[in-house]
């Protein structure tokens, strides 16, 4: 059996520096990441943190690699009570510059077989990365309320 691995590629009409900022700075992420404040602007060894819209801490994970604006790798272990018990997975972002545009590749792997978190992120990343692209190209992210994944996050936050 192959271990679960999620791969998603999106092309964004913005340079890698802007895509990097949007993925690492909390004041930007909360505009498209369905209200989550995600900070990942530190060096390798520092922390990636995420605060959910209810103000609860959703992540406090180590940054494994940071090479702005080319490559960012961090661990991923949600702090919500109902998602604990799985080992940390790993998120890798690769940024490639194409004539002022960016090819962004997200690989989320290092899951165990049958991971519940894998199912969640497989639905979540297309929504988050679509919203990121909209935010960088139009100034406006997509709405959080339309996505079932966002609702699940909200429920998880209440249970935490």
């Amino acid at each position: 059996m192959c271990k679960p691995k999620f791969v998603y590629v999106t092309y964004i009409a913005a340079p890698p520096e802007r895509v990097w900022e949007a993925l690492t700075q909390p004041d930007l992420s909360e505009k498209y990441w369905f209200g989550y404040s995600v900070r990942a602007d530190g060096k390798a060894g520092e922390r990636m943190t995420a605060i959910d819209p209810a103000g609860k801490k959703a992540h406090d994970d180590p940054i494994l690699e940071s090479d702005p604006p080319r490559r960012l790798v961090y661990e991923w272990q949600p702090l919500y009570k109902d998602m604990q018990g799985e080992r940390p997975s790993r998120v890798t972002f690769e940024f490639e510059s194409l004539k002022g545009q960016t090819r962004l590749t997200v690989v989320h792997d290092e899951f165990d077989e049958g991971s519940k978190i894998f199912d969640m992120i497989s639905k979540g990343w297309p929504a988050v990365l679509s919203s990121l692209k909209s935010f960088l190209e139009t100034g406006k992210g997509l709405e959080p309320s339309w996505d079932a994944a966002a609702k699940r996050h909200a429920t998880a936050a209440e249970n935490a």
Partner: protein, 168 residues
């Protein structure tokens, strides 16, 4: 009739677009739109199940040929898909490409599924896996900003070699 049950999904791409289902449907089926986001390809499609389907390159050559399997505006479109412009691909079993358009609040969730009826080598699947994200990213940009992305289409390294290996 095409027996869709024999096709197994191999590549799925999901994107959310701030547009109505009708606009997304129009973009997928109207040549004035496909020319802008589908690497310059012009779609020619008969608007009913069983109708013919062609994607034509800017120089007039045929890129892809097939037939309409499902035509349910603005919800679901499925076509059989045979790549014609790469000679080595003409004799391969056709695949099935389907688009599902679902309202998602103020936006639309577009799901593209590429399904195959044979044990396709991974190197051939790379064609779609590199092409679809570019095409559908450009479609999203076109509908949200009025401007497609600017990109070139090249078969991924290793795909042509894998095709030649199949022939041997």
């Amino acid at each position: 009739m095409t027996d869709t049950a024999k096709f197994k999904p191999k590549t799925i791409y999901v994107t959310y677009i701030a547009a109505t289902p009708e606009r997304v449907w129009q973009a997928l089926t109207d040549p004035a739109f496909t020319r802008q986001f589908f690497f310059g390809r012009t779609i020619e499609i008969e608007q009913q199940a069983g109708g013919s389907f062609t994607l034509r390159m800017p120089d007039g050559r045929i890129d892809v040929k097939g037939r309409v399997v499902e035509w349910v505006p603005p919800r679901r479109l499925a076509v059989t898909w045979s790549v014609d412009w790469i000679p080595e691909m003409r004799d391969l079993p056709e695949c099935l490409v389907s688009y599902e358009i679902e309202p998602a609040g103020g936006a639309v969730r577009l799901t593209m599924t590429e399904a195959h009826q044979w044990d396709v080598p991974e190197a051939l699947l790379e064609g779609g896996r590199s092409g679809w994200p570019a095409i559908l990213s450009s479609l999203k940009s076109l509908l949200e900003t009025g401007k497609p992305l600017s990109m070139k289409l090249e078969p991924p390294a290793g795909m042509i070699e894998a095709l030649k290996a199949l022939k041997r």
